[in-house]
Symmetry: C2
Protein backbone atom coordinates (compact mmCIF):
# COMPACT_ATOMS: atom_id res chain seq x y z
CA UNK A 1 0.00 0.00 0.00
CA UNK A 2 1.54 3.32 -1.07
CA UNK A 3 1.34 6.36 1.07
CA UNK A 4 -0.88 9.19 -0.17
CA UNK A 5 1.61 11.83 -1.44
CA UNK A 6 -0.51 14.76 -0.32
CA UNK A 7 -3.45 15.73 1.87
CA UNK A 8 -6.40 17.64 0.49
CA UNK A 9 -7.05 20.21 3.22
CA UNK A 10 -9.90 22.07 1.51
CA UNK A 11 -11.53 22.28 -1.88
CA UNK A 12 -13.91 24.90 -3.23
CA UNK A 13 -15.63 25.30 -6.57
CA UNK A 14 -14.65 28.65 -8.10
CA UNK A 15 -15.32 30.25 -11.49
CA UNK A 16 -16.20 26.93 -13.11
CA UNK A 17 -13.03 25.27 -11.79
CA UNK A 18 -11.80 24.31 -8.36
CA UNK A 19 -9.35 25.65 -5.82
CA UNK A 20 -7.59 23.00 -3.75
CA UNK A 21 -5.62 23.66 -0.58
CA UNK A 22 -3.02 20.90 -0.37
CA UNK A 23 -0.38 19.78 2.10
CA UNK A 24 2.59 17.51 1.33
CA UNK A 25 5.87 16.51 2.91
CA UNK A 26 8.55 18.56 1.17
CA UNK A 27 11.95 16.89 0.94
CA UNK A 28 13.66 20.22 0.16
CA UNK A 29 12.15 21.96 3.19
CA UNK A 30 12.21 18.87 5.39
CA UNK A 31 8.78 19.89 6.63
CA UNK A 32 5.14 19.65 5.63
CA UNK A 33 4.37 22.42 3.12
CA UNK A 34 1.07 23.86 1.99
CA UNK A 35 0.25 25.19 -1.43
CA UNK A 36 -2.91 26.09 -3.31
CA UNK A 37 -3.81 24.84 -6.74
CA UNK A 38 -6.48 26.29 -8.99
CA UNK A 39 -7.64 23.94 -11.71
CA UNK A 40 -9.80 25.37 -14.51
CA UNK A 41 -12.82 23.50 -15.82
CA UNK A 42 -11.02 21.63 -18.59
CA UNK A 43 -8.40 20.30 -16.14
CA UNK A 44 -11.20 18.94 -13.96
CA UNK A 45 -12.37 17.09 -17.05
CA UNK A 46 -8.92 15.52 -17.30
CA UNK A 47 -7.20 17.65 -19.93
CA UNK A 48 -3.67 18.71 -18.96
CA UNK A 49 -3.29 22.51 -18.89
CA UNK A 50 -0.30 24.84 -18.45
CA UNK A 51 0.23 26.27 -14.96
CA UNK A 52 1.25 29.72 -13.82
CA UNK A 53 3.13 29.79 -10.50
CA UNK A 54 2.25 32.80 -8.35
CA UNK A 55 4.71 33.96 -5.68
CA UNK A 56 3.59 36.27 -2.89
CA UNK A 57 5.56 38.85 -0.93
CA UNK A 58 6.78 39.39 2.62
CA UNK A 59 4.34 38.41 5.42
CA UNK A 60 2.10 36.49 3.00
CA UNK A 61 1.29 32.81 2.71
CA UNK A 62 -0.08 30.44 0.07
CA UNK A 63 -3.54 32.01 0.31
CA UNK A 64 -2.74 35.69 -0.10
CA UNK A 65 -2.17 36.05 -3.82
CA UNK A 66 -5.20 33.97 -4.76
CA UNK A 67 -7.55 35.75 -2.35
CA UNK A 68 -6.44 39.30 -3.11
CA UNK A 69 -5.27 39.42 -6.74
CA UNK A 70 -8.47 38.43 -8.63
CA UNK A 71 -6.24 36.10 -10.68
CA UNK A 72 -8.53 33.08 -10.60
CA UNK A 73 -11.30 34.52 -12.77
CA UNK A 74 -8.85 35.11 -15.62
CA UNK A 75 -7.04 31.80 -15.16
CA UNK A 76 -10.49 30.22 -15.44
CA UNK A 77 -11.30 32.24 -18.55
CA UNK A 78 -8.05 31.32 -20.30
CA UNK A 79 -7.92 27.72 -19.08
CA UNK A 80 -4.76 28.03 -17.00
CA UNK A 81 -3.95 26.39 -13.67
CA UNK A 82 -2.48 28.48 -10.85
CA UNK A 83 -0.01 27.15 -8.28
CA UNK A 84 0.51 29.26 -5.15
CA UNK A 85 3.25 28.15 -2.72
CA UNK A 86 3.92 29.54 0.73
CA UNK A 87 6.57 32.26 1.17
CA UNK A 88 8.78 30.32 3.62
CA UNK A 89 8.92 27.02 5.46
CA UNK A 90 6.63 26.86 8.50
CA UNK A 91 7.70 25.32 11.76
CA UNK A 92 11.44 25.28 11.05
CA UNK A 93 11.92 26.26 14.70
CA UNK A 94 14.89 28.54 14.06
CA UNK A 95 15.50 30.97 16.94
CA UNK A 96 14.22 34.42 15.97
CA UNK A 97 12.40 33.32 12.81
CA UNK A 98 9.11 34.89 13.97
CA UNK A 99 10.51 38.18 15.25
CA UNK A 100 10.68 40.31 12.09
CA UNK A 101 8.30 40.65 9.15
CA UNK A 102 11.21 40.61 6.69
CA UNK A 103 13.24 37.64 7.85
CA UNK A 104 12.34 34.04 8.66
CA UNK A 105 8.69 33.01 8.62
CA UNK A 106 6.89 34.63 5.69
CA UNK A 107 10.20 35.86 4.24
CA UNK A 108 11.95 32.97 2.52
CA UNK A 109 13.02 35.13 -0.47
CA UNK A 110 12.80 32.05 -2.74
CA UNK A 111 16.45 31.27 -2.00
CA UNK A 112 18.31 28.32 -0.45
CA UNK A 113 19.96 29.39 2.79
CA UNK A 114 23.55 28.22 3.13
CA UNK A 115 24.25 29.23 6.70
CA UNK A 116 23.22 27.35 9.85
CA UNK A 117 20.71 27.18 11.43
CA UNK A 118 18.72 28.40 8.39
CA UNK A 119 20.20 26.01 5.84
CA UNK A 120 18.32 22.94 7.06
CA UNK A 121 14.82 24.15 6.15
CA UNK A 122 15.00 27.55 4.42
CA UNK A 123 15.22 26.12 0.90
CA UNK A 124 12.35 27.83 -0.90
CA UNK A 125 14.67 28.31 -3.89
CA UNK A 126 14.92 24.62 -4.74
CA UNK A 127 11.36 24.01 -3.60
CA UNK A 128 9.87 26.50 -6.06
CA UNK A 129 12.33 25.81 -8.92
CA UNK A 130 12.28 22.02 -8.83
CA UNK A 131 10.31 20.15 -6.21
CA UNK A 132 6.95 21.88 -6.49
CA UNK A 133 6.68 21.89 -10.32
CA UNK A 134 7.72 18.22 -10.49
CA UNK A 135 5.21 17.35 -7.77
CA UNK A 136 2.35 19.25 -9.36
CA UNK A 137 3.05 17.87 -12.83
CA UNK A 138 3.17 14.32 -11.46
CA UNK A 139 -0.04 14.35 -9.47
CA UNK A 140 -2.42 16.72 -11.28
CA UNK A 141 -3.61 17.37 -14.85
CA UNK A 142 -0.86 19.92 -15.51
CA UNK A 143 1.18 19.98 -18.71
CA UNK A 144 4.77 18.94 -18.09
CA UNK A 145 7.29 21.74 -18.58
CA UNK A 146 4.75 24.31 -19.79
CA UNK A 147 5.07 26.88 -17.04
CA UNK A 148 4.61 30.53 -16.38
CA UNK A 149 5.68 32.38 -13.26
CA UNK A 150 4.68 35.69 -11.71
CA UNK A 151 4.84 37.35 -8.33
CA UNK A 152 4.45 40.44 -6.20
CA UNK A 153 7.26 42.29 -4.38
CA UNK A 154 9.55 39.61 -2.87
CA UNK A 155 7.56 37.22 -5.08
CA UNK A 156 8.19 39.42 -8.10
CA UNK A 157 11.89 39.10 -7.36
CA UNK A 158 11.37 35.36 -7.06
CA UNK A 159 9.58 35.13 -10.41
CA UNK A 160 12.30 37.05 -12.27
CA UNK A 161 15.13 35.15 -10.61
CA UNK A 162 13.57 31.71 -11.11
CA UNK A 163 13.02 32.45 -14.81
CA UNK A 164 16.51 33.88 -15.34
CA UNK A 165 18.02 30.96 -13.44
CA UNK A 166 16.61 28.38 -15.86
CA UNK A 167 15.11 30.10 -18.89
CA UNK A 168 14.21 26.83 -20.59
CA UNK A 169 12.04 25.67 -17.71
CA UNK A 170 9.80 28.75 -17.62
CA UNK A 171 8.00 30.00 -20.71
CA UNK A 172 6.33 33.19 -19.49
CA UNK A 173 7.28 35.69 -16.80
CA UNK A 174 5.72 38.72 -15.14
CA UNK A 175 5.95 40.68 -11.91
CA UNK A 176 4.25 43.35 -9.83
CA UNK A 177 6.54 45.75 -7.99
CA UNK A 178 9.45 43.28 -7.79
CA UNK A 179 12.46 43.77 -5.53
CA UNK A 180 14.77 44.14 -8.52
CA UNK A 181 18.14 44.11 -6.77
CA UNK A 182 17.80 42.53 -3.31
CA UNK A 183 21.56 42.36 -2.72
CA UNK A 184 21.77 46.14 -2.87
CA UNK A 185 18.87 47.10 -0.55
CA UNK A 186 18.38 46.61 3.16
CA UNK A 187 15.75 43.86 2.85
CA UNK A 188 18.13 41.62 0.96
CA UNK A 189 21.18 42.66 2.97
CA UNK A 190 19.44 41.49 6.13
CA UNK A 191 18.92 38.12 4.42
CA UNK A 192 22.56 38.08 3.29
CA UNK A 193 23.69 38.39 6.89
CA UNK A 194 21.53 35.47 8.04
CA UNK A 195 20.63 33.07 5.23
CA UNK A 196 24.05 33.41 3.55
CA UNK A 197 26.21 34.04 6.63
CA UNK A 198 27.28 37.33 5.13
CA UNK A 199 28.48 35.78 1.88
CA UNK A 200 27.07 38.23 -0.67
CA UNK A 201 28.07 36.22 -3.72
CA UNK A 202 25.16 33.84 -3.10
CA UNK A 203 22.87 36.54 -4.45
CA UNK A 204 24.40 35.92 -7.86
CA UNK A 205 21.86 33.10 -8.28
CA UNK A 206 18.86 35.09 -7.12
CA UNK A 207 19.21 38.84 -7.63
CA UNK A 208 17.45 39.71 -10.93
CA UNK A 209 19.78 42.61 -11.71
CA UNK A 210 22.90 40.54 -10.92
CA UNK A 211 21.61 37.67 -13.07
CA UNK A 212 21.08 40.06 -15.99
CA UNK A 213 24.49 41.63 -15.44
CA UNK A 214 26.11 38.18 -15.50
CA UNK A 215 24.71 37.67 -18.98
CA UNK A 216 21.64 35.61 -18.22
CA UNK A 217 18.53 36.47 -20.17
CA UNK A 218 15.18 34.92 -20.91
CA UNK A 219 13.81 34.63 -24.46
CA UNK A 220 10.37 35.91 -23.42
CA UNK A 221 9.29 39.45 -22.66
CA UNK A 222 9.12 40.33 -18.94
CA UNK A 223 5.89 42.17 -18.14
CA UNK A 224 6.41 44.30 -15.02
CA UNK A 225 3.93 46.73 -13.43
CA UNK A 226 5.00 49.30 -10.86
CA UNK A 227 2.94 51.85 -8.94
CA UNK A 228 4.52 55.30 -8.70
CA UNK A 229 3.03 55.91 -5.24
CA UNK A 230 4.57 52.67 -3.99
CA UNK A 231 5.79 53.30 -0.45
CA UNK A 232 8.76 50.98 -1.07
CA UNK A 233 9.93 52.43 -4.38
CA UNK A 234 13.46 53.15 -3.14
CA UNK A 235 13.85 49.50 -2.13
CA UNK A 236 12.29 48.05 -5.30
CA UNK A 237 14.35 50.01 -7.86
CA UNK A 238 12.51 49.47 -11.15
CA UNK A 239 15.03 51.90 -12.65
CA UNK A 240 17.87 49.48 -11.91
CA UNK A 241 15.87 46.65 -13.47
CA UNK A 242 15.24 48.72 -16.57
CA UNK A 243 18.93 49.55 -16.91
CA UNK A 244 20.09 45.98 -16.33
CA UNK A 245 17.56 44.62 -18.85
CA UNK A 246 18.62 47.19 -21.43
CA UNK A 247 22.31 46.37 -20.96
CA UNK A 248 21.65 42.62 -21.16
CA UNK A 249 19.29 42.81 -24.12
CA UNK A 250 16.42 41.40 -22.05
CA UNK A 251 12.98 42.24 -23.46
CA UNK A 252 11.09 44.11 -20.74
CA UNK A 253 7.79 45.96 -20.69
CA UNK A 254 7.91 48.07 -17.54
CA UNK A 255 4.70 50.00 -16.97
CA UNK A 256 4.66 52.78 -14.39
CA UNK A 257 1.27 53.66 -12.93
CA UNK A 258 0.56 57.08 -11.47
CA UNK A 259 -1.21 56.98 -8.11
CA UNK A 260 -0.88 53.25 -7.41
CA UNK A 261 0.79 51.92 -4.25
CA UNK A 262 2.30 48.58 -3.21
CA UNK A 263 -0.93 46.85 -2.15
CA UNK A 264 -2.96 44.10 -3.77
CA UNK A 265 -5.45 46.84 -4.74
CA UNK A 266 -2.73 47.73 -7.24
CA UNK A 267 -2.10 44.09 -8.20
CA UNK A 268 -5.78 43.40 -8.89
CA UNK A 269 -6.01 46.51 -11.05
CA UNK A 270 -3.63 45.05 -13.66
CA UNK A 271 -3.91 41.29 -13.09
CA UNK A 272 -5.94 40.67 -16.23
CA UNK A 273 -3.07 41.87 -18.43
CA UNK A 274 -0.71 39.47 -16.68
CA UNK A 275 -2.93 36.44 -17.16
CA UNK A 276 -3.39 37.46 -20.79
CA UNK A 277 0.40 37.70 -21.17
CA UNK A 278 0.83 34.20 -19.74
CA UNK A 279 -2.03 32.77 -21.79
CA UNK A 280 -0.56 34.15 -25.01
CA UNK A 281 2.76 32.51 -24.28
CA UNK A 282 1.53 29.23 -22.86
CA UNK A 283 -1.53 28.28 -24.92
Amino acid sequence: MTEQPFTLVERHACCGGEIRCLSHQSHELGLPARFNLFLPKKALAGEAVPAVYVLAGLTCNQDTFLIKSNAIRYAAEYGLALVAPDTSPRGADVAGEDEAYDLGTGAGYYVDATSDPWAAHYRMGSYVRHELPAFVEKHFPIKVGRRGIMGHSMGGMGALSVALGDAEAWTTVSAFAPIAAPSRVDWGQKATATYFGGYEAEWGQYDPCLLLQSGRTHPGMFLVDQGLDDEFLTRLRPDWLEQAARDAGQSLTLRRHEGYDHSYWFVQSFIQDHLKHHAEGLL
Copy 2:
Protein backbone atom coordinates in the same frame (compact mmCIF):
# COMPACT_ATOMS: atom_id res chain seq x y z
CA MET B 1 -14.38 75.87 13.00
CA THR B 2 -16.38 72.74 12.20
CA GLU B 3 -15.25 69.29 13.19
CA GLN B 4 -14.14 66.95 10.40
CA PRO B 5 -17.08 64.51 10.07
CA PHE B 6 -14.86 61.53 9.28
CA THR B 7 -11.27 60.29 9.33
CA LEU B 8 -9.60 58.90 6.23
CA VAL B 9 -7.76 55.85 7.59
CA GLU B 10 -6.36 54.58 4.28
CA ARG B 11 -6.77 55.21 0.58
CA HIS B 12 -5.60 53.07 -2.34
CA ALA B 13 -5.91 53.51 -6.08
CA CYS B 14 -7.76 50.51 -7.52
CA CYS B 15 -9.06 49.71 -11.01
CA GLY B 16 -8.96 53.35 -12.10
CA GLY B 17 -10.87 54.50 -9.01
CA GLU B 18 -10.06 54.63 -5.32
CA ILE B 19 -10.89 52.62 -2.22
CA ARG B 20 -11.13 54.65 0.97
CA CYS B 21 -11.19 53.23 4.47
CA LEU B 22 -13.13 55.69 6.61
CA SER B 23 -14.02 56.09 10.25
CA HIS B 24 -16.79 58.28 11.66
CA GLN B 25 -18.69 58.74 14.90
CA SER B 26 -22.01 56.93 14.44
CA HIS B 27 -24.91 58.40 16.39
CA GLU B 28 -26.97 55.22 15.93
CA LEU B 29 -24.21 52.97 17.27
CA GLY B 30 -22.93 55.50 19.79
CA LEU B 31 -19.41 54.48 18.79
CA PRO B 32 -16.82 55.13 16.09
CA ALA B 33 -17.66 53.03 13.03
CA ARG B 34 -15.54 52.07 10.07
CA PHE B 35 -16.71 51.55 6.52
CA ASN B 36 -15.07 51.25 3.12
CA LEU B 37 -16.03 53.28 0.08
CA PHE B 38 -15.01 52.50 -3.47
CA LEU B 39 -15.32 55.45 -5.84
CA PRO B 40 -15.03 54.78 -9.57
CA LYS B 41 -13.05 57.08 -11.83
CA LYS B 42 -15.91 59.39 -12.77
CA ALA B 43 -16.78 59.98 -9.11
CA LEU B 44 -13.18 61.02 -8.48
CA ALA B 45 -13.69 63.55 -11.24
CA GLY B 46 -16.66 64.94 -9.31
CA GLU B 47 -19.62 63.30 -11.04
CA ALA B 48 -22.18 61.85 -8.60
CA VAL B 49 -22.68 58.10 -9.15
CA PRO B 50 -25.14 55.56 -7.72
CA ALA B 51 -23.87 53.38 -4.87
CA VAL B 52 -24.33 49.71 -4.13
CA TYR B 53 -24.20 48.80 -0.43
CA VAL B 54 -22.51 45.47 0.24
CA LEU B 55 -23.26 43.62 3.48
CA ALA B 56 -21.00 40.84 4.70
CA GLY B 57 -21.81 37.80 6.83
CA LEU B 58 -21.00 36.42 10.27
CA THR B 59 -17.40 36.94 11.49
CA CYS B 60 -16.64 39.46 8.74
CA ASN B 61 -15.89 43.17 8.86
CA GLN B 62 -15.97 46.14 6.47
CA ASP B 63 -13.00 44.76 4.52
CA THR B 64 -14.11 41.20 3.82
CA PHE B 65 -16.57 41.63 0.97
CA LEU B 66 -14.35 44.04 -0.95
CA ILE B 67 -11.21 41.93 -0.57
CA LYS B 68 -12.77 38.57 -1.38
CA SER B 69 -15.67 39.15 -3.78
CA ASN B 70 -13.88 40.71 -6.80
CA ALA B 71 -16.71 43.29 -6.83
CA ILE B 72 -14.54 46.35 -7.31
CA ARG B 73 -13.41 45.59 -10.86
CA TYR B 74 -17.02 45.45 -12.06
CA ALA B 75 -18.11 48.47 -10.03
CA ALA B 76 -15.23 50.29 -11.74
CA GLU B 77 -16.30 49.03 -15.13
CA TYR B 78 -19.93 50.11 -14.68
CA GLY B 79 -19.18 53.33 -12.84
CA LEU B 80 -20.80 52.41 -9.54
CA ALA B 81 -19.65 53.25 -6.02
CA LEU B 82 -19.54 50.52 -3.38
CA VAL B 83 -20.21 51.10 0.32
CA ALA B 84 -19.14 48.35 2.73
CA PRO B 85 -20.12 48.75 6.40
CA ASP B 86 -18.97 46.61 9.30
CA THR B 87 -21.15 43.71 10.48
CA SER B 88 -21.62 44.93 14.07
CA PRO B 89 -20.58 47.75 16.36
CA ARG B 90 -17.03 47.41 17.69
CA GLY B 91 -16.14 48.15 21.29
CA ALA B 92 -19.69 48.10 22.67
CA ASP B 93 -18.25 46.31 25.70
CA VAL B 94 -21.24 44.05 26.26
CA ALA B 95 -20.39 41.03 28.41
CA GLY B 96 -20.01 37.96 26.21
CA GLU B 97 -20.05 39.81 22.88
CA ASP B 98 -16.75 38.24 21.79
CA GLU B 99 -17.47 34.68 22.87
CA ALA B 100 -19.39 33.26 19.89
CA TYR B 101 -18.96 33.72 16.15
CA ASP B 102 -22.69 34.09 15.66
CA LEU B 103 -23.63 36.63 18.33
CA GLY B 104 -22.23 40.02 19.29
CA THR B 105 -19.09 41.24 17.56
CA GLY B 106 -19.21 40.42 13.85
CA ALA B 107 -22.83 39.32 14.13
CA GLY B 108 -25.05 42.40 14.24
CA TYR B 109 -27.66 40.87 11.88
CA TYR B 110 -28.47 44.36 10.54
CA VAL B 111 -31.15 44.73 13.25
CA ASP B 112 -31.75 47.16 16.13
CA ALA B 113 -31.50 45.31 19.43
CA THR B 114 -34.29 46.16 21.86
CA SER B 115 -33.08 44.37 24.95
CA ASP B 116 -30.46 45.60 27.41
CA PRO B 117 -27.49 45.57 27.43
CA TRP B 118 -27.44 45.17 23.62
CA ALA B 119 -29.91 47.95 22.81
CA ALA B 120 -27.48 50.81 23.49
CA HIS B 121 -25.06 50.03 20.64
CA TYR B 122 -26.32 47.09 18.58
CA ARG B 123 -28.27 49.22 16.11
CA MET B 124 -26.87 48.10 12.73
CA GLY B 125 -30.45 48.12 11.40
CA SER B 126 -30.87 51.89 11.63
CA TYR B 127 -27.22 52.45 10.82
CA VAL B 128 -27.40 50.67 7.47
CA ARG B 129 -30.93 51.78 6.55
CA HIS B 130 -30.62 55.47 7.41
CA GLU B 131 -27.46 56.85 8.94
CA LEU B 132 -24.86 55.43 6.57
CA PRO B 133 -26.63 56.26 3.26
CA ALA B 134 -27.38 59.79 4.46
CA PHE B 135 -23.77 60.22 5.57
CA VAL B 136 -22.29 58.90 2.36
CA GLU B 137 -24.62 60.95 0.15
CA LYS B 138 -23.82 64.10 2.10
CA HIS B 139 -20.03 63.86 2.06
CA PHE B 140 -19.11 62.07 -1.18
CA PRO B 141 -19.99 62.27 -4.91
CA ILE B 142 -22.84 59.75 -4.54
CA LYS B 143 -26.24 60.25 -6.13
CA VAL B 144 -28.91 60.91 -3.51
CA GLY B 145 -31.47 58.14 -3.19
CA ARG B 146 -30.11 56.05 -6.08
CA ARG B 147 -29.11 52.94 -4.19
CA GLY B 148 -28.58 49.24 -4.66
CA ILE B 149 -27.98 46.70 -1.92
CA MET B 150 -26.52 43.21 -1.87
CA GLY B 151 -24.98 40.87 0.65
CA HIS B 152 -23.72 37.43 1.55
CA SER B 153 -25.26 35.06 4.12
CA MET B 154 -26.24 37.23 7.14
CA GLY B 155 -25.58 40.13 4.78
CA GLY B 156 -27.84 38.60 2.13
CA MET B 157 -30.57 38.53 4.77
CA GLY B 158 -29.73 42.14 5.53
CA ALA B 159 -29.95 43.18 1.89
CA LEU B 160 -33.35 41.56 1.36
CA SER B 161 -34.77 42.87 4.62
CA VAL B 162 -33.49 46.42 4.13
CA ALA B 163 -35.01 46.52 0.64
CA LEU B 164 -38.34 45.03 1.71
CA GLY B 165 -38.46 47.38 4.70
CA ASP B 166 -38.37 50.50 2.52
CA ALA B 167 -38.78 49.57 -1.14
CA GLU B 168 -38.73 53.18 -2.30
CA ALA B 169 -35.30 53.83 -0.81
CA TRP B 170 -33.52 50.94 -2.58
CA THR B 171 -33.70 50.51 -6.34
CA THR B 172 -31.84 47.23 -6.89
CA VAL B 173 -31.39 44.16 -4.72
CA SER B 174 -29.37 40.94 -4.80
CA ALA B 175 -28.00 38.31 -2.43
CA PHE B 176 -25.61 35.38 -2.19
CA ALA B 177 -26.75 32.49 0.01
CA PRO B 178 -28.95 34.69 2.24
CA ILE B 179 -30.36 33.55 5.58
CA ALA B 180 -33.90 33.68 4.24
CA ALA B 181 -35.85 33.13 7.45
CA PRO B 182 -33.66 33.95 10.46
CA SER B 183 -36.52 33.77 12.95
CA ARG B 184 -37.01 30.09 12.15
CA VAL B 185 -33.40 28.83 12.31
CA ASP B 186 -31.00 28.55 15.23
CA TRP B 187 -28.75 31.46 14.19
CA GLY B 188 -31.65 33.91 14.36
CA GLN B 189 -33.24 32.27 17.38
CA LYS B 190 -30.04 32.85 19.33
CA ALA B 191 -30.27 36.51 18.37
CA THR B 192 -33.96 36.58 19.35
CA ALA B 193 -33.05 35.44 22.84
CA THR B 194 -30.45 38.17 23.28
CA TYR B 195 -31.01 41.18 21.01
CA PHE B 196 -34.81 40.99 21.35
CA GLY B 197 -35.08 39.59 24.89
CA GLY B 198 -36.97 36.61 23.50
CA TYR B 199 -39.61 38.76 21.78
CA GLU B 200 -39.88 37.00 18.40
CA ALA B 201 -42.22 39.56 16.86
CA GLU B 202 -39.29 41.93 16.36
CA TRP B 203 -38.20 39.72 13.45
CA GLY B 204 -41.27 40.95 11.58
CA GLN B 205 -39.16 43.95 10.51
CA TYR B 206 -36.10 41.96 9.48
CA ASP B 207 -36.90 38.39 8.43
CA PRO B 208 -37.19 38.35 4.60
CA CYS B 209 -39.76 35.56 4.57
CA LEU B 210 -41.87 37.21 7.30
CA LEU B 211 -41.72 40.54 5.45
CA LEU B 212 -42.94 38.89 2.25
CA GLN B 213 -45.65 37.01 4.16
CA SER B 214 -46.85 40.28 5.70
CA GLY B 215 -47.47 41.60 2.19
CA ARG B 216 -44.33 43.64 1.66
CA THR B 217 -42.76 43.41 -1.76
CA HIS B 218 -40.19 45.29 -3.80
CA PRO B 219 -40.88 46.43 -7.38
CA GLY B 220 -37.49 45.16 -8.60
CA MET B 221 -36.37 41.62 -9.28
CA PHE B 222 -34.36 39.96 -6.50
CA LEU B 223 -31.30 38.20 -7.92
CA VAL B 224 -30.24 35.42 -5.53
CA ASP B 225 -27.44 32.87 -6.04
CA GLN B 226 -27.17 29.76 -3.91
CA GLY B 227 -24.56 26.98 -3.94
CA LEU B 228 -25.98 23.48 -3.65
CA ASP B 229 -22.94 22.23 -1.70
CA ASP B 230 -23.40 25.03 0.81
CA GLU B 231 -22.63 23.59 4.23
CA PHE B 232 -25.33 25.80 5.79
CA LEU B 233 -28.13 25.03 3.35
CA THR B 234 -30.53 23.85 6.07
CA ARG B 235 -30.12 27.17 7.89
CA LEU B 236 -30.37 29.35 4.77
CA ARG B 237 -33.55 27.85 3.31
CA PRO B 238 -33.70 29.18 -0.25
CA ASP B 239 -36.77 26.98 -0.69
CA TRP B 240 -38.64 29.01 1.92
CA LEU B 241 -37.59 32.24 0.20
CA GLU B 242 -38.79 30.91 -3.13
CA GLN B 243 -42.17 29.94 -1.67
CA ALA B 244 -42.64 33.23 0.19
CA ALA B 245 -41.73 35.23 -2.93
CA ARG B 246 -44.15 33.23 -5.04
CA ASP B 247 -46.98 33.70 -2.55
CA ALA B 248 -46.31 37.43 -2.26
CA GLY B 249 -45.87 38.04 -5.98
CA GLN B 250 -42.26 39.13 -5.48
CA SER B 251 -40.13 38.83 -8.61
CA LEU B 252 -37.20 36.55 -7.76
CA THR B 253 -34.47 34.94 -9.85
CA LEU B 254 -33.06 32.19 -7.64
CA ARG B 255 -30.14 30.38 -9.26
CA ARG B 256 -28.93 27.12 -7.74
CA HIS B 257 -25.33 26.17 -8.49
CA GLU B 258 -24.18 22.57 -8.40
CA GLY B 259 -20.90 22.05 -6.51
CA TYR B 260 -20.58 25.54 -4.98
CA ASP B 261 -20.28 26.05 -1.23
CA HIS B 262 -20.81 29.01 1.13
CA SER B 263 -17.40 30.65 0.69
CA TYR B 264 -16.36 33.80 -1.13
CA TRP B 265 -14.90 31.49 -3.81
CA PHE B 266 -18.59 30.99 -4.63
CA VAL B 267 -19.41 34.69 -4.32
CA GLN B 268 -16.59 35.75 -6.67
CA SER B 269 -17.72 33.20 -9.23
CA PHE B 270 -21.01 35.03 -9.82
CA ILE B 271 -20.28 38.60 -8.71
CA GLN B 272 -20.16 39.98 -12.23
CA ASP B 273 -23.82 39.11 -12.80
CA HIS B 274 -24.76 40.94 -9.60
CA LEU B 275 -22.94 44.14 -10.51
CA LYS B 276 -24.51 43.94 -13.97
CA HIS B 277 -27.95 43.56 -12.35
CA HIS B 278 -27.34 46.64 -10.19
CA ALA B 279 -25.90 48.64 -13.08
CA GLU B 280 -28.93 47.89 -15.25
CA GLY B 281 -31.28 49.14 -12.56
CA LEU B 282 -29.28 52.11 -11.34
CA LEU B 283 -27.71 53.66 -14.43
